[in-house]
Subunit: 238 residues, 2 copies
Protein backbone atom coordinates (compact mmCIF):
# COMPACT_ATOMS: atom_id res chain seq x y z
CA UNK A 1 0.00 0.00 0.00
CA UNK A 2 1.03 3.63 -0.44
CA UNK A 3 1.68 5.98 2.44
CA UNK A 4 -1.76 7.57 2.02
CA UNK A 5 -3.34 4.16 2.48
CA UNK A 6 -1.15 3.42 5.48
CA UNK A 7 -2.47 6.69 6.88
CA UNK A 8 -6.11 5.75 6.28
CA UNK A 9 -5.66 2.25 7.71
CA UNK A 10 -3.94 3.39 10.89
CA UNK A 11 -5.64 6.75 11.34
CA UNK A 12 -2.25 8.46 11.61
CA UNK A 13 -1.75 11.52 9.39
CA UNK A 14 0.86 11.40 6.62
CA UNK A 15 3.11 14.11 8.17
CA UNK A 16 3.16 12.09 11.40
CA UNK A 17 4.09 8.93 9.48
CA UNK A 18 6.94 10.84 7.82
CA UNK A 19 8.04 11.95 11.27
CA UNK A 20 8.01 8.32 12.48
CA UNK A 21 10.20 7.35 9.48
CA UNK A 22 12.67 10.17 10.13
CA UNK A 23 12.94 9.31 13.83
CA UNK A 24 13.55 5.62 13.18
CA UNK A 25 10.25 4.61 14.78
CA UNK A 26 9.06 3.07 11.51
CA UNK A 27 11.07 1.01 9.03
CA UNK A 28 11.25 2.25 5.44
CA UNK A 29 8.87 0.97 2.81
CA UNK A 30 10.03 -0.68 -0.37
CA UNK A 31 10.94 2.09 -2.80
CA UNK A 32 9.09 1.73 -6.14
CA UNK A 33 10.10 5.08 -7.61
CA UNK A 34 12.19 8.03 -6.41
CA UNK A 35 9.09 9.55 -4.80
CA UNK A 36 7.13 6.51 -3.82
CA UNK A 37 7.39 3.54 -1.52
CA UNK A 38 5.17 0.58 -0.74
CA UNK A 39 4.14 -0.35 2.79
CA UNK A 40 2.71 -3.60 4.12
CA UNK A 41 1.13 -5.19 7.18
CA UNK A 42 4.39 -4.96 9.16
CA UNK A 43 4.15 -1.18 8.80
CA UNK A 44 0.52 -1.11 9.94
CA UNK A 45 1.42 -3.13 13.01
CA UNK A 46 4.44 -0.97 13.80
CA UNK A 47 2.51 2.30 13.45
CA UNK A 48 -0.12 1.00 15.88
CA UNK A 49 2.60 -0.04 18.32
CA UNK A 50 4.37 3.33 18.10
CA UNK A 51 1.11 5.20 18.66
CA UNK A 52 0.44 3.03 21.72
CA UNK A 53 3.88 3.68 23.17
CA UNK A 54 3.68 7.43 22.56
CA UNK A 55 0.06 8.16 23.36
CA UNK A 56 -0.91 5.58 25.95
CA UNK A 57 2.52 4.78 27.36
CA UNK A 58 3.48 8.48 27.37
CA UNK A 59 6.98 7.65 26.15
CA UNK A 60 9.07 10.33 24.53
CA UNK A 61 10.07 9.76 20.91
CA UNK A 62 13.59 8.80 22.03
CA UNK A 63 12.25 6.30 24.55
CA UNK A 64 9.87 4.75 22.01
CA UNK A 65 12.74 4.50 19.53
CA UNK A 66 14.74 2.50 22.08
CA UNK A 67 11.84 0.11 22.66
CA UNK A 68 11.16 -0.55 18.97
CA UNK A 69 14.92 -0.82 18.45
CA UNK A 70 14.95 -3.63 21.01
CA UNK A 71 12.15 -5.40 19.14
CA UNK A 72 14.04 -5.17 15.87
CA UNK A 73 17.38 -6.26 17.29
CA UNK A 74 16.17 -9.76 18.16
CA UNK A 75 17.49 -9.44 21.71
CA UNK A 76 17.06 -11.94 24.54
CA UNK A 77 13.87 -11.43 26.56
CA UNK A 78 15.66 -10.20 29.65
CA UNK A 79 17.32 -7.40 27.66
CA UNK A 80 13.98 -6.31 26.19
CA UNK A 81 12.53 -6.27 29.70
CA UNK A 82 15.39 -4.05 30.82
CA UNK A 83 14.98 -1.62 27.96
CA UNK A 84 11.20 -1.42 28.36
CA UNK A 85 11.54 -1.01 32.13
CA UNK A 86 14.02 1.80 31.70
CA UNK A 87 11.95 3.50 28.99
CA UNK A 88 9.13 4.28 31.40
CA UNK A 89 11.31 5.55 34.23
CA UNK A 90 10.51 9.06 33.09
CA UNK A 91 13.31 11.45 34.05
CA UNK A 92 12.18 14.57 35.84
CA UNK A 93 11.43 17.48 33.50
CA UNK A 94 13.45 19.75 35.77
CA UNK A 95 16.49 17.47 36.07
CA UNK A 96 18.78 20.08 34.53
CA UNK A 97 17.63 22.54 37.10
CA UNK A 98 18.56 20.19 39.93
CA UNK A 99 20.76 21.86 42.48
CA UNK A 100 20.40 19.50 45.39
CA UNK A 101 23.12 17.30 46.82
CA UNK A 102 21.83 13.74 46.67
CA UNK A 103 23.98 12.89 49.69
CA UNK A 104 21.74 15.13 51.76
CA UNK A 105 19.01 12.49 51.53
CA UNK A 106 18.98 10.07 54.43
CA UNK A 107 19.41 6.96 52.29
CA UNK A 108 17.01 4.84 54.30
CA UNK A 109 15.29 3.91 51.05
CA UNK A 110 18.19 1.86 49.71
CA UNK A 111 18.43 -0.08 52.98
CA UNK A 112 14.70 -0.76 53.13
CA UNK A 113 14.60 -1.97 49.54
CA UNK A 114 17.70 -4.18 49.92
CA UNK A 115 16.13 -5.75 53.02
CA UNK A 116 12.84 -6.21 51.22
CA UNK A 117 14.54 -8.06 48.34
CA UNK A 118 16.46 -10.24 50.79
CA UNK A 119 13.33 -11.06 52.77
CA UNK A 120 11.36 -11.98 49.65
CA UNK A 121 14.18 -13.83 47.91
CA UNK A 122 13.99 -11.38 44.98
CA UNK A 123 17.30 -11.87 43.18
CA UNK A 124 17.90 -8.96 40.79
CA UNK A 125 20.81 -7.01 39.37
CA UNK A 126 21.76 -3.82 41.17
CA UNK A 127 21.08 -1.83 37.99
CA UNK A 128 17.39 -2.84 37.93
CA UNK A 129 15.74 0.60 37.49
CA UNK A 130 13.01 -0.28 39.98
CA UNK A 131 15.46 -0.34 42.88
CA UNK A 132 16.44 3.32 42.58
CA UNK A 133 12.86 4.34 41.73
CA UNK A 134 11.41 2.70 44.85
CA UNK A 135 14.33 3.73 47.09
CA UNK A 136 13.96 7.36 46.05
CA UNK A 137 10.26 7.39 46.94
CA UNK A 138 11.01 5.95 50.40
CA UNK A 139 13.80 8.51 50.89
CA UNK A 140 11.31 11.22 50.01
CA UNK A 141 8.71 9.98 52.48
CA UNK A 142 11.48 10.08 55.13
CA UNK A 143 12.60 13.57 54.10
CA UNK A 144 9.00 14.76 54.43
CA UNK A 145 8.58 13.14 57.85
CA UNK A 146 6.05 10.72 56.39
CA UNK A 147 7.72 7.42 57.40
CA UNK A 148 4.25 6.24 58.42
CA UNK A 149 3.40 5.84 54.73
CA UNK A 150 6.42 3.56 54.25
CA UNK A 151 5.49 1.46 57.27
CA UNK A 152 1.94 1.04 56.07
CA UNK A 153 2.43 0.70 52.33
CA UNK A 154 5.72 -1.11 51.62
CA UNK A 155 4.73 -4.72 52.39
CA UNK A 156 1.27 -4.61 50.74
CA UNK A 157 2.93 -2.80 47.83
CA UNK A 158 5.45 -5.61 47.48
CA UNK A 159 2.65 -8.20 47.62
CA UNK A 160 0.85 -6.25 44.91
CA UNK A 161 3.99 -6.00 42.77
CA UNK A 162 4.51 -9.76 43.09
CA UNK A 163 0.93 -10.40 41.92
CA UNK A 164 1.33 -8.10 38.92
CA UNK A 165 4.79 -9.39 38.00
CA UNK A 166 3.58 -13.01 38.07
CA UNK A 167 0.74 -12.03 35.74
CA UNK A 168 3.14 -10.06 33.50
CA UNK A 169 5.34 -13.11 33.11
CA UNK A 170 2.34 -15.40 32.61
CA UNK A 171 1.30 -13.13 29.73
CA UNK A 172 4.77 -13.48 28.21
CA UNK A 173 4.68 -17.25 28.65
CA UNK A 174 1.26 -17.40 26.97
CA UNK A 175 2.83 -15.95 23.83
CA UNK A 176 5.46 -18.75 23.77
CA UNK A 177 7.05 -20.22 21.75
CA UNK A 178 6.96 -17.33 19.22
CA UNK A 179 9.95 -15.19 20.26
CA UNK A 180 8.79 -12.10 18.31
CA UNK A 181 5.37 -12.22 19.97
CA UNK A 182 6.89 -12.81 23.42
CA UNK A 183 9.10 -9.77 22.91
CA UNK A 184 6.11 -7.67 21.86
CA UNK A 185 4.22 -8.71 25.01
CA UNK A 186 7.24 -7.79 27.15
CA UNK A 187 7.61 -4.36 25.55
CA UNK A 188 3.93 -3.38 25.40
CA UNK A 189 2.95 -4.99 28.70
CA UNK A 190 5.82 -3.39 30.58
CA UNK A 191 5.29 0.09 29.17
CA UNK A 192 1.49 0.14 29.38
CA UNK A 193 1.15 -1.99 32.51
CA UNK A 194 2.16 0.89 34.79
CA UNK A 195 -0.75 2.95 33.47
CA UNK A 196 -3.17 0.05 33.89
CA UNK A 197 -2.13 -0.50 37.50
CA UNK A 198 -2.13 3.25 38.19
CA UNK A 199 -5.66 3.42 36.76
CA UNK A 200 -6.95 0.46 38.77
CA UNK A 201 -5.33 1.92 41.91
CA UNK A 202 -7.26 5.18 41.45
CA UNK A 203 -10.53 3.29 41.07
CA UNK A 204 -9.84 1.10 44.12
CA UNK A 205 -8.72 4.15 46.15
CA UNK A 206 -12.02 5.92 45.60
CA UNK A 207 -14.06 2.80 46.33
CA UNK A 208 -12.00 2.14 49.47
CA UNK A 209 -12.26 5.79 50.49
CA UNK A 210 -16.08 5.61 50.47
CA UNK A 211 -15.84 2.45 52.57
CA UNK A 212 -13.48 3.92 55.17
CA UNK A 213 -14.72 7.48 55.26
CA UNK A 214 -18.45 7.26 54.61
CA UNK A 215 -20.07 10.34 53.13
CA UNK A 216 -22.33 12.42 55.36
CA UNK A 217 -25.85 11.02 55.65
CA UNK A 218 -28.04 12.06 52.75
CA UNK A 219 -25.16 12.48 50.27
CA UNK A 220 -26.00 10.43 47.18
CA UNK A 221 -23.61 7.54 46.51
CA UNK A 222 -22.22 7.26 42.97
CA UNK A 223 -24.57 5.72 40.45
CA UNK A 224 -23.58 2.26 39.17
CA UNK A 225 -21.05 2.63 36.40
CA UNK A 226 -21.87 1.94 32.81
CA UNK A 227 -19.46 1.35 29.96
CA UNK A 228 -21.09 4.30 28.19
CA UNK A 229 -20.27 6.65 31.08
CA UNK A 230 -16.61 5.56 30.98
CA UNK A 231 -16.50 5.88 27.20
CA UNK A 232 -17.83 9.44 27.51
CA UNK A 233 -14.93 10.32 29.85
CA UNK A 234 -12.51 8.68 27.45
CA UNK A 235 -13.78 10.85 24.61
CA UNK A 236 -13.44 13.96 26.73
CA UNK A 237 -9.78 13.14 27.43
CA UNK A 238 -9.01 12.99 23.73
CA UNK B 1 15.09 33.00 58.55
CA UNK B 2 16.10 34.83 55.38
CA UNK B 3 15.77 33.33 51.92
CA UNK B 4 19.49 32.47 51.87
CA UNK B 5 18.99 30.40 55.02
CA UNK B 6 15.88 28.76 53.60
CA UNK B 7 18.06 27.83 50.65
CA UNK B 8 20.80 26.31 52.86
CA UNK B 9 18.29 24.41 55.00
CA UNK B 10 16.40 22.91 52.09
CA UNK B 11 19.28 22.58 49.62
CA UNK B 12 17.24 24.44 47.00
CA UNK B 13 19.00 27.34 45.27
CA UNK B 14 17.70 30.89 45.77
CA UNK B 15 16.66 31.39 42.10
CA UNK B 16 14.62 28.18 42.33
CA UNK B 17 12.97 29.40 45.53
CA UNK B 18 12.08 32.68 43.79
CA UNK B 19 10.62 30.61 40.95
CA UNK B 20 8.51 28.63 43.48
CA UNK B 21 7.23 31.92 44.92
CA UNK B 22 6.35 33.33 41.50
CA UNK B 23 4.53 30.15 40.48
CA UNK B 24 2.48 30.00 43.66
CA UNK B 25 4.17 26.81 44.83
CA UNK B 26 5.44 28.54 47.97
CA UNK B 27 3.60 31.05 50.17
CA UNK B 28 5.21 34.47 50.67
CA UNK B 29 7.38 35.19 53.68
CA UNK B 30 6.66 37.97 56.12
CA UNK B 31 8.01 41.16 54.61
CA UNK B 32 10.41 42.96 56.99
CA UNK B 33 11.67 45.56 54.52
CA UNK B 34 10.97 46.33 50.83
CA UNK B 35 13.72 43.90 49.82
CA UNK B 36 13.58 41.33 52.56
CA UNK B 37 11.20 38.76 53.95
CA UNK B 38 11.36 36.25 56.77
CA UNK B 39 10.61 32.56 56.28
CA UNK B 40 9.80 29.88 58.85
CA UNK B 41 9.35 26.13 59.31
CA UNK B 42 6.16 26.13 57.21
CA UNK B 43 8.30 27.33 54.29
CA UNK B 44 10.92 24.63 54.87
CA UNK B 45 8.23 21.97 54.90
CA UNK B 46 6.54 23.33 51.79
CA UNK B 47 9.80 23.57 49.82
CA UNK B 48 10.55 19.91 50.63
CA UNK B 49 7.05 18.92 49.55
CA UNK B 50 7.28 20.85 46.28
CA UNK B 51 10.68 19.29 45.49
CA UNK B 52 9.22 15.86 46.15
CA UNK B 53 6.23 16.46 43.86
CA UNK B 54 8.41 17.88 41.07
CA UNK B 55 11.48 15.66 41.25
CA UNK B 56 10.20 12.35 42.57
CA UNK B 57 6.55 12.62 41.50
CA UNK B 58 7.54 14.04 38.11
CA UNK B 59 4.67 16.53 38.23
CA UNK B 60 4.76 19.60 36.06
CA UNK B 61 4.84 22.95 37.83
CA UNK B 62 1.15 23.46 37.02
CA UNK B 63 0.23 20.02 38.40
CA UNK B 64 2.24 20.61 41.59
CA UNK B 65 0.56 24.00 42.00
CA UNK B 66 -2.85 22.29 41.87
CA UNK B 67 -1.81 19.78 44.54
CA UNK B 68 -0.40 22.35 46.97
CA UNK B 69 -3.43 24.54 46.24
CA UNK B 70 -5.64 21.68 47.43
CA UNK B 71 -3.59 21.39 50.63
CA UNK B 72 -4.00 25.10 51.32
CA UNK B 73 -7.69 25.23 50.53
CA UNK B 74 -8.68 22.99 53.44
CA UNK B 75 -10.74 20.76 51.15
CA UNK B 76 -12.49 17.54 52.11
CA UNK B 77 -10.27 14.44 51.78
CA UNK B 78 -12.12 13.05 48.80
CA UNK B 79 -11.50 16.25 46.82
CA UNK B 80 -7.79 16.17 47.64
CA UNK B 81 -7.70 12.53 46.49
CA UNK B 82 -9.33 13.56 43.24
CA UNK B 83 -6.91 16.42 42.62
CA UNK B 84 -3.85 14.31 43.48
CA UNK B 85 -5.13 11.44 41.33
CA UNK B 86 -5.66 13.75 38.38
CA UNK B 87 -2.28 15.45 38.86
CA UNK B 88 -0.38 12.28 38.01
CA UNK B 89 -2.43 11.32 34.98
CA UNK B 90 0.30 12.80 32.80
CA UNK B 91 -1.13 13.96 29.48
CA UNK B 92 0.74 12.75 26.42
CA UNK B 93 3.46 15.14 25.25
CA UNK B 94 2.19 14.77 21.69
CA UNK B 95 -1.48 15.37 22.47
CA UNK B 96 -1.59 18.40 20.20
CA UNK B 97 -0.37 16.31 17.38
CA UNK B 98 -3.14 13.79 17.82
CA UNK B 99 -4.99 13.17 14.61
CA UNK B 100 -6.76 9.95 15.41
CA UNK B 101 -10.49 9.54 15.75
CA UNK B 102 -11.14 8.17 19.22
CA UNK B 103 -14.26 6.45 17.88
CA UNK B 104 -11.99 4.23 15.83
CA UNK B 105 -10.95 2.40 18.98
CA UNK B 106 -13.02 -0.67 19.73
CA UNK B 107 -14.14 0.50 23.16
CA UNK B 108 -13.85 -2.93 24.79
CA UNK B 109 -11.85 -1.26 27.56
CA UNK B 110 -14.77 0.72 28.95
CA UNK B 111 -16.95 -2.40 29.03
CA UNK B 112 -14.29 -4.53 30.72
CA UNK B 113 -13.65 -1.87 33.37
CA UNK B 114 -17.35 -1.28 34.05
CA UNK B 115 -17.83 -5.04 34.46
CA UNK B 116 -14.79 -5.26 36.73
CA UNK B 117 -16.14 -2.51 39.00
CA UNK B 118 -19.55 -4.19 39.10
CA UNK B 119 -18.01 -7.59 39.93
CA UNK B 120 -15.87 -6.18 42.73
CA UNK B 121 -18.48 -3.84 44.14
CA UNK B 122 -16.23 -0.84 43.45
CA UNK B 123 -18.59 2.14 43.63
CA UNK B 124 -16.90 5.17 42.05
CA UNK B 125 -17.90 8.29 40.14
CA UNK B 126 -17.71 8.08 36.37
CA UNK B 127 -15.17 10.92 36.35
CA UNK B 128 -12.62 8.94 38.39
CA UNK B 129 -9.50 9.41 36.25
CA UNK B 130 -8.49 5.78 36.73
CA UNK B 131 -11.45 4.52 34.71
CA UNK B 132 -10.38 6.20 31.48
CA UNK B 133 -6.71 5.46 32.14
CA UNK B 134 -7.31 1.73 32.59
CA UNK B 135 -9.90 1.53 29.79
CA UNK B 136 -7.52 3.17 27.34
CA UNK B 137 -4.76 0.64 28.09
CA UNK B 138 -7.17 -2.25 27.52
CA UNK B 139 -8.37 -0.62 24.27
CA UNK B 140 -4.75 -0.38 23.19
CA UNK B 141 -4.02 -4.03 23.95
CA UNK B 142 -7.06 -4.88 21.81
CA UNK B 143 -5.98 -2.57 18.98
CA UNK B 144 -2.57 -4.27 18.98
CA UNK B 145 -4.09 -7.74 18.96
CA UNK B 146 -2.72 -8.38 22.44
CA UNK B 147 -6.00 -9.29 24.19
CA UNK B 148 -4.07 -12.13 25.82
CA UNK B 149 -2.40 -9.56 28.09
CA UNK B 150 -5.79 -8.31 29.25
CA UNK B 151 -7.01 -11.82 29.95
CA UNK B 152 -3.93 -12.65 31.98
CA UNK B 153 -3.31 -9.38 33.77
CA UNK B 154 -6.66 -7.69 34.53
CA UNK B 155 -7.82 -9.76 37.53
CA UNK B 156 -4.43 -10.01 39.28
CA UNK B 157 -3.97 -6.30 38.54
CA UNK B 158 -7.29 -5.53 40.24
CA UNK B 159 -6.29 -7.68 43.24
CA UNK B 160 -3.01 -5.77 43.41
CA UNK B 161 -4.79 -2.41 43.15
CA UNK B 162 -7.12 -3.41 45.98
CA UNK B 163 -4.13 -4.32 48.18
CA UNK B 164 -2.40 -1.03 47.46
CA UNK B 165 -5.55 1.08 47.87
CA UNK B 166 -6.33 -0.52 51.23
CA UNK B 167 -2.79 0.30 52.37
CA UNK B 168 -3.10 3.85 50.96
CA UNK B 169 -6.23 4.44 52.97
CA UNK B 170 -4.73 2.80 56.08
CA UNK B 171 -1.85 5.31 55.80
CA UNK B 172 -4.38 8.15 55.65
CA UNK B 173 -6.27 6.74 58.64
CA UNK B 174 -3.02 6.45 60.62
CA UNK B 175 -2.60 10.22 60.31
CA UNK B 176 -6.07 10.80 61.84
CA UNK B 177 -7.43 12.86 63.45
CA UNK B 178 -5.15 15.70 62.20
CA UNK B 179 -6.89 16.84 58.99
CA UNK B 180 -3.82 18.71 57.65
CA UNK B 181 -1.62 15.65 58.10
CA UNK B 182 -4.25 13.35 56.57
CA UNK B 183 -4.43 15.65 53.56
CA UNK B 184 -0.64 15.63 53.21
CA UNK B 185 -0.60 11.81 53.27
CA UNK B 186 -3.30 11.72 50.59
CA UNK B 187 -1.45 14.13 48.33
CA UNK B 188 2.08 12.76 48.74
CA UNK B 189 1.07 9.10 48.92
CA UNK B 190 -1.11 9.33 45.84
CA UNK B 191 1.43 11.18 43.73
CA UNK B 192 4.51 9.20 44.80
CA UNK B 193 2.77 5.85 45.30
CA UNK B 194 2.59 5.20 41.54
CA UNK B 195 6.39 5.43 41.34
CA UNK B 196 6.82 3.16 44.35
CA UNK B 197 4.56 0.50 42.87
CA UNK B 198 6.15 0.90 39.42
CA UNK B 199 9.56 0.43 41.05
CA UNK B 200 8.53 -2.64 43.01
CA UNK B 201 6.92 -4.09 39.89
CA UNK B 202 10.22 -3.78 37.98
CA UNK B 203 12.09 -5.56 40.77
CA UNK B 204 9.50 -8.34 41.02
CA UNK B 205 9.41 -8.69 37.22
CA UNK B 206 13.14 -9.37 37.03
CA UNK B 207 13.06 -11.79 39.97
CA UNK B 208 10.07 -13.58 38.44
CA UNK B 209 11.70 -13.59 35.02
CA UNK B 210 14.74 -15.48 36.40
CA UNK B 211 12.36 -17.95 38.03
CA UNK B 212 10.31 -18.57 34.88
CA UNK B 213 13.00 -18.32 32.26
CA UNK B 214 16.17 -19.63 33.93
CA UNK B 215 19.44 -18.35 32.51
CA UNK B 216 21.60 -20.75 30.48
CA UNK B 217 23.69 -23.08 32.65
CA UNK B 218 26.90 -21.41 33.80
CA UNK B 219 25.54 -17.84 33.64
CA UNK B 220 26.23 -16.20 36.99
CA UNK B 221 23.10 -15.27 38.97
CA UNK B 222 22.94 -11.74 40.35
CA UNK B 223 24.94 -11.16 43.52
CA UNK B 224 22.88 -10.52 46.67
CA UNK B 225 21.84 -6.88 46.78
CA UNK B 226 23.33 -4.45 49.22
CA UNK B 227 22.00 -1.05 50.22
CA UNK B 228 25.31 0.42 49.05
CA UNK B 229 24.84 -0.99 45.54
CA UNK B 230 21.37 0.56 45.33
CA UNK B 231 22.62 3.87 46.71
CA UNK B 232 25.33 3.91 44.02
CA UNK B 233 22.65 3.56 41.32
CA UNK B 234 20.66 6.31 42.98
CA UNK B 235 23.63 8.66 42.83
CA UNK B 236 24.19 7.82 39.19
CA UNK B 237 20.60 8.81 38.37
CA UNK B 238 21.12 12.25 39.83
Amino acid sequence: MRMSELSTTTGVAVPTLKFYLREGLLHSGERTSPNQAQYDETHVERVRLVRALLEVGNLSVAQAARVVGALDADMPLSSVFGIAQRAVSIPSPIDNDRDVDADALPGVGATLIAELCERRGWRVHANNPGLALAARVLDTYAALGLESITTTVLEPGADAAQLVASADLAAVASAAPDPAEMTRVVAVGTVLGDSLIAGLRRIAQEAESFRRFPLPEGTPTPAPLTAAAIAAELDEDC
